[in-house]
């Protein structure tokens, strides 16, 4: 069994590997909701029943073929900070983190599969992949689901499909989503138009940590709303098509910004670089906004492309629970802002100054000492 400290130390597989369109799509995720046939759903079940369900499911999940040497823990054994670390890593939901006795999380070594026991449903299973690769994420999770189905009977009905606590998840029980980095659409003030268009066709756009959260770091989650009356493959194909279009919009917006206002772009990236390299107190929101600019800079060639991965790592590392785990104690808000700035200065120490010639091109304003 993998320890929490190992889980924390090991970067997730998706971080280390560049999936399709990784410049704009950080991750693709598939979530399946499943329930057992007999017992009440977690929100309606008594504590003893939830514990019994957990005790039945947890060992079965640990023994699945993809779960070798996994991390598996009863949530009542994790303190608030550790639970929050799992949320920040997108391995459990905020709702799950609020639960204790009778809830558990099982996460594979690669951190590509995570199974929540007794969240809103008896099982919430998630698969995560680098870049835009919903098909591969679904294939991996479908395999696990089928394997588990050989051992337990899931509540399923001919008319309603997989039965879930909330009717919004009925049918496939599947939520497919991708995390998109859309700085140019935000800077160009086009992002609301895109969100509205996407909403109209039955897809949802949410912030960094799901429902009701802010779009920090210019990151947006696009996902399907409908789970009933459409096949899994069709839902995924439709979603991928829309995401491809959003990617095109973002790329066009970046091109347009470079053409119309190159100095504005350079200013954003330059200020972000300066703040992250030299600030001594920095709030989470400000840091995330600046990291977003550096990430766009890396995509545009202003910063080495190889740094994009470090930036993605930092998006998670500077979150409150990660900082407190690094400090090995609870920190006040002010202490966190100081430590955050320290982590950023240290981790970005080697980062060369942005080479703005990639943005502005060689013009009369460009000083001769800037290397091409």
């Amino acid at each position: 069994m993998m320890k929490f400290t190992t889980l924390l130390r090991r970067p997730p597989e998706w971080m280390e590997h560049d999936g399709p369109c990784r410049d704009i799509v950080l991750t693709s995720r598939i979530r399946l909701a499943r329930n057992l046939e007999g017992p009440a759903f977690p929100g309606w079940a008594k504590k003893e029943d939830r514990i019994a369900i957990m005790q039945e499911l947890q060992p079965r999940i640990e023994s699945l073929s993809g779960m070798k040497d996994c991390f598996s823990e009863d949530l009542s054994n994790l303190d608030a900070i550790r639970k929050q670390v799992l949320v920040e890593k997108h391995l459990i939901s905020r709702e799950q983190a609020a639960k204790s006795a009778g809830s558990a999380a099982v996460i594979n070594r690669e951190q590509s599969l995570s199974i929540m026991i007794n969240e809103e449903d008896h099982l919430r299973m998630q698969s995560i992949r680098s870049g835009l690769d919903l098909v591969a994420a679904h294939a991996a999770l479908d395999k696990l689901d089928t394997e588990l189905e050989e051992q337990v009977r899931f509540a399923w009905d001919k008319r309603f499909g997989y039965l879930t606590a909330c009717p919004t998840n009925l049918g496939t029980g599947m939520r497919a989503s991708a995390m998109l980095h859309l700085p140019a659409l935000v800077l160009g003030e086009q992002v609301n138009q895109v969100i509205q268009a996407v909403n109209k066709i039955g897809l949802a756009v949410r912030g960094l940590y799901g429902e009701g959260t802010e779009a920090l770091a210019n990151l947006f989650q696009v996902s399907n709303q409908h789970t009933l009356g459409e096949r899994e493959g069709d839902i995924i194909a439709r979603l991928e098509k829309v995401i491809q279009q959003i990617i095109t919009h973002e790329r066009n917006a970046r091109r347009k910004l470079l053409e119309d206002s190159p100095h504005k772009i350079c200013d954003h990236i330059g200020r972000a670089y300066a703040a992250l390299r030299f600030a001594h107190i920095i709030e989470s929101k400000e840091a995330l906004t600046h990291l977003s600019m550096l990430r766009m800079g890396a995509d545009m060639g202003v910063l080495p492309a190889s740094e994009a991965r470090l930036i993605d790592t930092l998006l998670v590392e500077i979150q409150p629970a990660h900082l407190q785990t690094a400090a090995q104690r609870k920190l006040s808000g002010e202490e966190r802002d100081i430590l955050r700035a320290e982590v950023l200065r240290r981790r970005l120490h080697h980062l060369p100054e942005p080479d703005m010639s990639a943005c502005t091109g060689p013009g009369p304003e460009t000083p001769p000492d800037v290397k091409a």
């Binding site: 759903f41 009905d157 499909g161 039965l163 409908h226």
Partner: protein
Amino acid sequence: MKCDVCDDKTATVFLTQIVKGNMQKINLCENCAKEKGVTDPTGFQLADMLLGFGQGARVETQPMEKSCAACGMTQSTFRKTGRLGCAACYSVFGDGMDGLLKAMHKGTRHIGKVPAHLSTRQADEEHLAQLRTALDDAVSKEAYEDAARLKSEIATLEKSLKQRVRV
């Protein structure tokens, strides 16, 4: 128009309810409507209110409410929380959910994944129905050799289906 309960404030809530074929009407001001729990349509019976203006009437209406025998979930709790209590709830409340499902989904029938143990059984049942039709056909054509073969095929399939149900 004045409120039927306090006979003081202006009525802004107008209710019509049909009970056993009789139409009943009542006009309430905002305060009285709130006090009588009119905002919760499941726990409110106009008849009770007209007859005794409510004392204890809401408790009496509870047993009439639809509920799940397996887990005890009631219609009003489901409406309030939007969550069902267990899988069996869908056979209790499922029939009334079409409108809700139409608003939130692409369709009201599942067409996605079928659990493996059910998908083979479903296919087997369909195959069995086909074999029975073929058997009738063979008998009517007096093709007895075919009929005998079909009969033994049907017997084998029936046996394996029965065994699987028991598992």
